[in-house]
Symmetry: C4
Subunit: 238 residues, 4 copies
């Protein structure tokens, strides 16, 4: 089992990496399930990701209540994390982002689909969560556990879910996997934009190719993760 | 009431931040209403925004005449600021920009509309000021108070107004809000370009979503503003 | 009259600025007419522009022959410069570039036209030089004075000429003007791409607006030029 | 004949340059034929290209087996290199990349063609390798010599081959040529995207122009190669 200190260091690194890769800016957040208490998760206090240090990490239960009487300001949308961890025992890390390349697909009737092996985790295409379906007019944020649960429900067994008029979430069995998927969701969105704009027919990975490629990517994930740490989180990488 | 020194520091920071975010380059400017004299405003002398320091700030009255016999070169388009402050008592900061992502919408019949919550201040869509309607052939600049007043008139109660063949202005109750809106006007333009290019149908925020999301954004504006200060204006942030 | 040392310093700065702005990379070049000998021009030896120093500057006559027995390698396309100076007494600086944003217009039947005041020097639209019209199959380069003269002929009285399958040239009465026009040719290309992609109608500057705006831009050109020098050529700016 | 130390230094530089130019990220690789043993080639151990040093270079035979009992982890797709060197005696360097601009063309029915002289090595247009044609459902990777040989077969006598749902390879008689071609394949993809999006007709280089321009580019390749070394691999350039 991974120990707590390692997860904390990786969580700080994940914040810096996501900022460095342009997946998050002043907004967006990333969490990790507590390695010793699977019904707890770790998430920074409300802070821009690239400024996050180990001391900023708070612990929450699956109702997204702070543990241990921590009264610091939490992100408004912490329920995204709590409800995904509740629904998905296999998930140990969650990224939420407004990455610019992805938002157009969250507003469009066109489905985000895997255009190459790196984004094979998109499988048959990313679903889009439409908050209006169950919650009428909102400020678009996931402010309640009920909204978080509806989002987790739309995610289902997938690796990524888009959010209409808002952004997306990616999940993984480790922080490296969730960050990898967030980055390549962003990249795939750029690539698919390009392919659509060419005006010809576009061939996406089929279901079996996507399944096989996803397994292969996970076998080499230490390579990009190590590179990203060395570039964006050197001090977090002792 | 915010004191003058704080507004001056924030105005220097706003100049640096807008340059750092690519909203302004050698051109563009940002002003603040004087905190003690609501019929005065603060604006740098004619200078590239990223070079602006506290000593470069001039004070103007609402006719855009320099106060106190200041004879330094002013921006040619200072009337943009004076006339918006005259027309809008709620506005305490104004940004003018030629940001590349926005200009296509200022030349196009397609309306810039809020594609996600971050740009909800665009509401039902940004209006476009057509200088030819009242002033025939010009060099496209707002050189007179009459032109500034016509622009303020087109802005109406909105947060943003585009200018055909030129750029746009954003306004806010603080410098942080006006800068936030300038940046996310630019971002929304990029995102909407992407969504349109996908060729499917595009869902924008509806009026109530936009109103609610705009309120939420203003409640967390200290987060991006603090990040931007730390990145682009560290020395201006003592 | 500007003295030689000033022009040499400005020419080094122009090389660094064009590289810093992404207008040139390993290829592309910029020249200035000799301030004391209008039938001579100054151009670096064959070198990537961002590496150019004062010692790299060679002098050529209008036949693009090196003056003073200088035997260093010259750019293959020096005739671009010699023939434009021969044809246009008003021109004192020439930029040649393969800037990525511009090449699509050099290959397309769609005309590059001024979408905002900053690029008003494009007037009724940039013409495209088609080398095949007079020289059959070539390697696309301007290798002879006859080819340079044909290019200068296509330029006519304009500020910019595109070159099919190759790039473009901009000219001006000073280095600052030619550099400004090269940069905003690149920017306009990006903006027009965006406006076309929106799919609606696009309004360009009309002839009188363009003429007026071009005059205004030249009156404030010291502002971007000073900014660019401070960012990209600080040591060249003593 | 180039000596081994020079090729090793150039190979380290090529790794850094490709990373610096955005042609490779955590993935992608570049190799060189051994200058003394044409049936051997040099390729880093499995590592992100921008981290590669001389000590990371392994030697392989044309069956892509490590020479000299080297047991370090090799890239999964080393057969790309071995099989191209086996099929093409004229090739002394191979780049494999997932560069974002190129992948859309690898998924599209639209052919990547030379839009300007810099990418004239694309000649009549880049072919696309469809792994499904001979290997049914895979994880898209070139994992076997048979797959590598099929890719080399599709490459034929060309300079570049695209790989559906994956990326592309470029080859050359030196590392400088293969890197130049990888970079300008990426650039051409961007430019052609732009030209297509304009909606008019697009004129590409014809066969004779492409042949002539390719020869000219190779005559001046030291200029971009020297610039790239000075920018991205200064310490590798002693």
């Amino acid at each position: 089992m991974t120990d707590l200190a390692t997860v904390q260091d990786d969580l700080v690194a994940a914040n810096r990496i996501l900022a460095g890769l342009g997946v998050v800016d002043g907004f967006g957040h990333v969490s990790a399930r507590h390695p010793g208490h699977p019904d707890h998760y770790l998430l920074s206090r409300s802070l821009a990701p690239e400024l996050v240090t180990r001391d900023d990490i708070m612990t929450f239960d699956l109702d997204s209540q702070p543990v241990g009487g921590d009264t610091r300001n939490a992100y408004l949308e912490k329920s995204i994390h709590g409800e995904i961890y509740r629904a998905r025992a296999d998930v140990h890390a969650v990224v939420h982002s407004h990455a610019a390349a992805v938002v157009p697909f969250a507003a469009s009737s066109v489905t985000l689909r895997p255009i190459y092996h790196m984004s094979s985790f998109l499988r048959a295409g990313a679903k889009v969560f439409e908050i209006r379906e169950r919650f009428a007019a909102t400020d678009m944020l996931i402010r309640t556990n009920a909204q978080g649960a509806a989002l987790a429900d739309k995610l289902g067994d997938d690796a990524v879910v888009l959010m209409r008029g808002h952004g997306f979430c990616s999940v993984g069995e480790t922080l490296a996997v969730a960050v990898f998927r967030a980055f390549y969701t962003q990249t795939n969105a750029d690539l698919q934009q390009g392919a659509v704009a060419l005006g010809g027919s576009v061939t996406f990975l089929d279901a079996e190719e996507a399944m096989r490629a996803d397994a292969s990517n996970r076998s080499v994930i230490a390579r990009p993760w190590g590179l990203w740490k060395s570039k964006f989180a050197p001090s977090a990488d002792r």
